[in-house]
Symmetry: D2
Subunit: 367 residues, 4 copies
Amino acid sequence: MEQMDGTADTPELQRLYEDFDANDLAPLWTQREGIQPFVPSPKAVPHVWRWKMLLEIAERSGELVPVGRGGERRAISLRNPGLPGTAYATPTLWCAIQYLGGHETAPEHRHSQNAFRFVVEGEGVWTVVNGDPVAMRRGDLLLTPGWNFHGHHNDTDRPMAWIDGLDVPFAAYTDVGFFEFGSDRVTDEASPAVSRGERLWAHPGLRPLSKLEDTASSPLAAYRWEHTDRALTEQLRLEDEGHPATVGQGHAAIRYVNPTTGGDVMPTIRCEFHRLRAGASTRLRHEVGSAVWQVFEGSGTVVLGGTEQSVQKGDLFVVPSWTSWSLHADGEQFDLFRFTDGPIIERLHFQRTWIPGVSDDGAGGTR
Amino acid sequence: MEQMDGTADTPELQRLYEDFDANDLAPLWTQREGIQPFVPSPKAVPHVWRWKMLLEIAERSGELVPVGRGGERRAISLRNPGLPGTAYATPTLWCAIQYLGGHETAPEHRHSQNAFRFVVEGEGVWTVVNGDPVAMRRGDLLLTPGWNFHGHHNDTDRPMAWIDGLDVPFAAYTDVGFFEFGSDRVTDEASPAVSRGERLWAHPGLRPLSKLEDTASSPLAAYRWEHTDRALTEQLRLEDEGHPATVGQGHAAIRYVNPTTGGDVMPTIRCEFHRLRAGASTRLRHEVGSAVWQVFEGSGTVVLGGTEQSVQKGDLFVVPSWTSWSLHADGEQFDLFRFTDGPIIERLHFQRTWIPGVSDDGAGGTR
Amino acid sequence: MEQMDGTADTPELQRLYEDFDANDLAPLWTQREGIQPFVPSPKAVPHVWRWKMLLEIAERSGELVPVGRGGERRAISLRNPGLPGTAYATPTLWCAIQYLGGHETAPEHRHSQNAFRFVVEGEGVWTVVNGDPVAMRRGDLLLTPGWNFHGHHNDTDRPMAWIDGLDVPFAAYTDVGFFEFGSDRVTDEASPAVSRGERLWAHPGLRPLSKLEDTASSPLAAYRWEHTDRALTEQLRLEDEGHPATVGQGHAAIRYVNPTTGGDVMPTIRCEFHRLRAGASTRLRHEVGSAVWQVFEGSGTVVLGGTEQSVQKGDLFVVPSWTSWSLHADGEQFDLFRFTDGPIIERLHFQRTWIPGVSDDGAGGTR
Amino acid sequence: MEQMDGTADTPELQRLYEDFDANDLAPLWTQREGIQPFVPSPKAVPHVWRWKMLLEIAERSGELVPVGRGGERRAISLRNPGLPGTAYATPTLWCAIQYLGGHETAPEHRHSQNAFRFVVEGEGVWTVVNGDPVAMRRGDLLLTPGWNFHGHHNDTDRPMAWIDGLDVPFAAYTDVGFFEFGSDRVTDEASPAVSRGERLWAHPGLRPLSKLEDTASSPLAAYRWEHTDRALTEQLRLEDEGHPATVGQGHAAIRYVNPTTGGDVMPTIRCEFHRLRAGASTRLRHEVGSAVWQVFEGSGTVVLGGTEQSVQKGDLFVVPSWTSWSLHADGEQFDLFRFTDGPIIERLHFQRTWIPGVSDDGAGGTR
């Protein structure tokens, strides 16, 4: 009889394997470890994309490729080197640099996929979400939850670039996405400093009495840099004063949340902002689920799966599932935005974290 | 045989009723309607207390009664005329004016009862909640959720008065309350403009990564007037611009919420702020559950159970369960704070609302 | 100046206290401990009612008092000796023996108050809940959640008695109750062995695909003795086999739950069944919230607030909040039903338990 | 300038596309519709596998391939013809026939992936889940939630086959899976008729007081056919009697649920059983998410994406996301088991259903 590893070979066995194939079947025993590895073994690899390169290539695209209906967006996505043939940063997350020239408009559409934009530099574009014009400025996080119509228009003479994050790979893989065209121009070309969503919702701890029903995604279309910066500044000051506030020594961090629930901003995507004091480090850590980071300000070192790299303003890097990572701030404060598929992992109860030297070992630990 | 109304009278029946009494029993049939009325029939009555009177009597108490351990607080509570022998505004809610002279201290203690303070005028007192000094200023809502140590100290030469709201009657009735003395002085006599709780939590849509566990009560000790005022102002502006934002025509309102859940600030007490434009009215409405209102600014008319009264800055009034109420703003903007036992009613699924002319009739409507 | 205990006496002070009264006010400092005691200090007292007495007095009522519209039910409620002038077993719970003669009918009505019946002996009555006839038999728990029409009819020549449990005191105190008359006779006089609710819902772990929306109260109108008995029997057998299953040594127990949520059967009332092996005891325990117990079978000893009593089949006893209690089974298996206001206490976050010698001390322990 | 469809071609543009490639980037505009289609466009296709073929090939495997450590299971999985190179029935679901000869043992292991077994015929194997031996019999659903040790042993001389369902493809794609070997033999070789989990939990509406904490997956290891059959039989009888009980005319159905929550049995997999009366049909329906069905008894017709097929006892078929499906029972009662990725879809808020002629059209409907 054959060994369970599938190596033995007799005519009967060969016929059996042929019959598996012919009948659209596959034996588990020859591939068990491939599909059920001892620890997560992502095909996606850690990788760094440089902002300088991204911006330069986006500018060239701006000259050569018009934006309009069909292609919809002048967005250039990070393709994980471990996922050739795709346009995906990780198996679940899509990340792109998007570029809009002076007075250009990206037409309105809507889709099941959840989306956000984060602005590492520049301003002048308004994203119009279900008819509400939302200014985009440096340090802002802007949301476009699933099935909200949205388009962008540049109200200035200068181009603007930013990053987009979506759950496009997840939605494609699980076959859940719908898409619909909307207006060819944005439905409201006004350029207010503050969106209507913020005017209703961006008051700490206050909820409109007209909006008591919880929503799956945050009703707050914009999370402004001034609030993020202040929250992080206060955490570090509280740490200085001896009070618990930071997530680790010298490491302030906030999660962007849905004010109707206190939970993640969208059902599939988690957004956070991290700040390390000059000289501070995070412990090496393995986490289930994948993440994309962007350096917002300062420079530092990131160790990804054992390889160290220097990163600076605008640089993007991906951390696949269970790949170890740590951050170190060099001579100055180090600010980073990150987004992850954390809500997918947690809502389906697959979360696990391993901090060598602190928590249990990764392979055998209980969840 | 006796009729079910209990009126018949024979020697046997009389003996039966005597035996009920002797055995600690009571027949339902003689009192069914008393204990299960067709609609809620509160003993508490609608009533108005004038701020002028309250402040004057508080000042006299300040001269005559020291504040200190044992009595704990120089607080004078509203006693509902329908609930004689108690100190209760409604069956579930306690409301008092509290008064602290220049440089006085109310000693620290903690109790299961949930508490808040709301400031209709003045400043200069810090309430110290679990060691965190929280400035009290006009228009602020300050929380002291159950089992948090708290004391107050007046950092100035001038007295200050404010209102306290608690679930004391509910806790007394259901026998759930514990009480413990703490420090005779406040544990931190600093007088910062902003509390540590606010520095961590008062950033719209941002949650500290070090505080991801939800809490039964809000971690935000102070809700500042500037935020409340701005939220209401924006709602009315949005209404002017044609967008849905207010809870009724000319009627802006916010609910104070726990940022970890988006729900009520404390498990038993709901806090809200309402603003009516000059000339605006609310529809007459019956609601299950009781409420206490305080006029914050402006003047207007309140119709309580069919009786109309004029109210002005600082005046307090109670609305017992199912008592009809409506508000009307006279010649100026009308601002009111209210607190209710809404979370009790809703978590136990007793909520029902009747707006004559809009929703079903009160007695026979489905819940 | 007066001491904070309110004992000093001057003309000014006397005038102040008179003015409090005249203005519907009450000072906190003279009554703080009364309304905010160090530990819960219920007026309700522990008490035992004997089944023999209850049944005898119910039979006499059956002869003397007809059942019908207005009085609605021939129910005789336990009046806690500490709550004179009421018909209440505890501040939150109402408990009565109800008696229906052969072929009598208790007319249909509905109310906001949640209700159940538990049968310690007898059979022959059907309670008709929203048109679904539910047989009542020894050991069964039958639910009538708030606002469901219900009436009872005796399909036999023999009288039947059982206990009713409701949240009537809580609803009366908080002013939340509505009441409505229904049909003078039950709307379905059939007498099936199994109700339609059970036919849909009483299948372990199986949910009708036509009923995916969760309900505040259990859709299962009857919890049958055969299931309860089997569950308890299996717990004790598992304990014998060395597996964790019981809540304490020799102490099996189940909670009746809403199959749509796994939580309590109704928003305000918790129902449980406890079985002690011959000779087994429970540890002395203090709990926030009140309870009513009924001995179902066997006999034993209950220690209530330090006083020991023997109880037998059908006897009822109340345990007020924070009153210590323990049970001891004498020479035979000891079966008891209990219901409590646990859901009220837990949903409002007031729960606390103290087991002397095991958990922290009661007064100073953190919650 | 290039058109947004990516067709234009100039040297500059060609260089741009080469530079995308060289820098691990991909433009959105050339592939937007591929990754964000108008409606879900699964690669997986509808397909039927015949039980006769599966059983025959499993028997041959039983002769030729031993079961043991490494390969772990003699399981032969359905490979969707639209997903060549995989072992997956759908992008999220794995389904296999597993075969265990007389007195064989499949060794213990555990993994993050959630698993169940369903038995269409036969008996004699015990699956041991975390040390609890669970008998497997015709019509039973047996659960092995993530990270529970489990092995199987055949206690008889006869072979047994059944189907396994897992979330292996989802876990592989999202990189969330851990795996660990356990005992080479099952840790408890007893063969009780009822598992300990059932003895604790399989009592309708009764929860052990020792197990009040909710669990992500059901604690009930076995859902027995006698309960399922009875639940479906009662639904059809209730329909006959004129009461709402079935999900459609002549169509009874139950969902297997976690008794601690009333929700799905495991975080990623939904299990249901459907019964159609002879002659009954379901409406054609499109649903987001994929499913695998197995005919349990009877025969009928299934229309999958417009193609009609006859299916009989044991036959398996897959329904990819948004592929239309309907069932028709021929001359006899038609019983089917199904499992889906419904919990993934719903927890992440991607659910949408389209029933042509009843609900809105599929592409443009609101979610």
